[in-house]
């Protein structure tokens, strides 16, 4: 440890942090006061009990609201994005190339990494190389694809797709590197989990956002502008 690091470590005991509240008690109270049905709704990944209680009421009153809620992305501050509002996007590749359709639970079990999502997907595809793709909308009329695989954005990506009529922009998603690709049909090239250069293709005739999240490479395909793509990317959990 350098001298500066030692001084920072010494500073630790000197910071006047506000006293930590008794979170454990509050959390226990919240958990115990939530309705028992909550556990069956885990796949929705909507965990905040207060929100859940309110939502169950809505669903009970209005069955039609259920699908709308299932497609509700997470609350991010004041903004709420809904996948159902996204336009349908024309598939440009055979969807079989995404692998085989499996239940979400199977994908979670077999992926070998913790899946992230934008709410419960309508369909899930698992491919032999470990790629998991969550489909929002239907496979015939997709609105958004969220693919994930251990890997990283590849430095050579920009150079490789240049000249194919695509516009590529380097972006930052929560401090992690990413690329926003729009325009004509393009390939997606990335470093796979073993550090080898792999390639895949875009499946939808929209735009593609590629970004790193820890050890994962995430790929979002939809017909959205950069700002909306970034908002969606940040809502992925």
């Amino acid at each position: 440890m350098s001298e500066l690091e030692l001084r920072l470590a010494d500073l630790r005991a000197e910071i006047d942090f506000p006293p930590a509240p008794q979170l454990a008690d509050a959390v226990e109270r919240t958990i115990s006061s939530a309705p028992r049905r909550r556990r069956s709704l885990r796949p929705l990944a909507v965990a905040l009990a207060v929100v859940l209680v309110a939502t169950l009421g809505v669903l009970a009153l209005s069955p039609g609201a259920r699908s709308a809620f299932l497609e509700l992305f997470r609350l991010r501050g004041a903004s709420v994005a809904r996948v159902e509002r996204l336009p349908q996007v024309e598939p440009i590749e055979r969807i079989e190339l995404l692998g085989v359709r499996v239940p979400l639970a199977t994908a979670r079990k077999q992926a070998g990494f913790e899946l992230v999502d934008l709410g419960e997907p309508d369909q899930v595809y698992l491919r032999g190389d470990g790629l998991v793709t969550l489909v929002y909308g239907s496979i015939e009329r997709p609105r958004l694809l969220l693919s994930q695989v251990p890997g990283a954005v590849w430095d050579g990506f920009v150079k490789k797709v240049g000249g194919l009529g695509s516009s590529i922009e380097e972006i930052d998603v929560d401090g992690e590197r990413g690329l926003y690709v729009s325009g004509e049909r393009h390939f997606v090239m990335y470093l796979d989990g073993a550090g080898r250069i792999a390639d895949d293709r875009a499946y939808l005739a929209g735009t593609t956002l590629l970004w790193n999240r820890g050890e994962l490479l995430l790929r979002l395909e939809a017909d959205v502008e950069l700002a909306e793509a970034l908002e969606l990317a940040r809502a992925v959990r």
Binding site: D10, D16, F17, P21, L23, A47
Partner: protein
């Protein structure tokens, strides 16, 4: 006398819906969870709200927690995400401050800014003043850094997280934490005029 349950046993019970078991797990982590949220939101009320919400979310997300993984960084990552959400929502931000009438820091002989000179002799009144000034200067320099730099240094040194824990908490790759820490330290040195 029965031994206290191990973390993995509590996790298993919590996964089956045992709120008390999860409470026991959280009790060990509540201070660092709150501090993590506070370092991001810089607002005690927001930090409490974020940490509490995140921990409730973590309870429901336990089926997705890898059994072999350490719990703390997984919890902190959820807390940090929730805190970032609050940060974007806006609100008043507080600056970090030093304790008034603080205790002596741990002895690290001869380290500038420490109150104990090598040899362990009691510091003179002048030495105390100089040490306090050095700490204040260091904190001000840390506070002046960009958010990315400040957060990675805060996790590593103010929360005492390992590189791996910092990576998981901030949803970064470990290599990114290493390089970002190195760059942040360089910027901090520059802020302190120590280049």
């Amino acid at each position: 006398m029965s031994r206290p349950p191990r973390e993995d046993e509590l996790v298993e019970r919590a996964r089956r819906g045992d709120g008390a078991a999860f409470g026991a797990l959280v009790r060990d982590q509540e201070e660092i969870a709150f501090r993590t949220a506070y370092l991001i939101t810089r607002n005690a009320a927001d930090a409490e709200d974020a940490a509490q919400t995140a921990l409730v979310k973590a309870f429901y997300a336990l089926p997705r927690f890898r059994r072999s993984a350490p719990l703390r960084p997984w919890l902190l990552a959820i807390v940090a995400n929730e805190a970032r959400n609050r940060l974007r929502a806006g609100g008043r931000r507080e600056a970090l401050a030093l304790r008034a009438g603080h205790e002596l820091p741990s002895a690290r002989g001869g380290v500038p800014g420490s109150e104990l000179p090598s040899g362990g002799a009691a510091p003179s009144p002048e030495g105390r003043v100089l040490a306090a000034e050095a700490r204040a200067e260091l904190l001000a320099a840390l506070e002046s850094l960009g958010e990315e730099d400040r957060l990675v240094l805060s996790c590593r040194y103010l929360l005492d997280l390992t590189e791996a824990e910092t990576a998981e908490t901030l949803s970064l790759r470990r290599g990114t934490v290493k390089s970002r820490t190195s760059r942040a330290l360089e910027r901090l040195r520059a802020e302190l005029g120590e280049r």
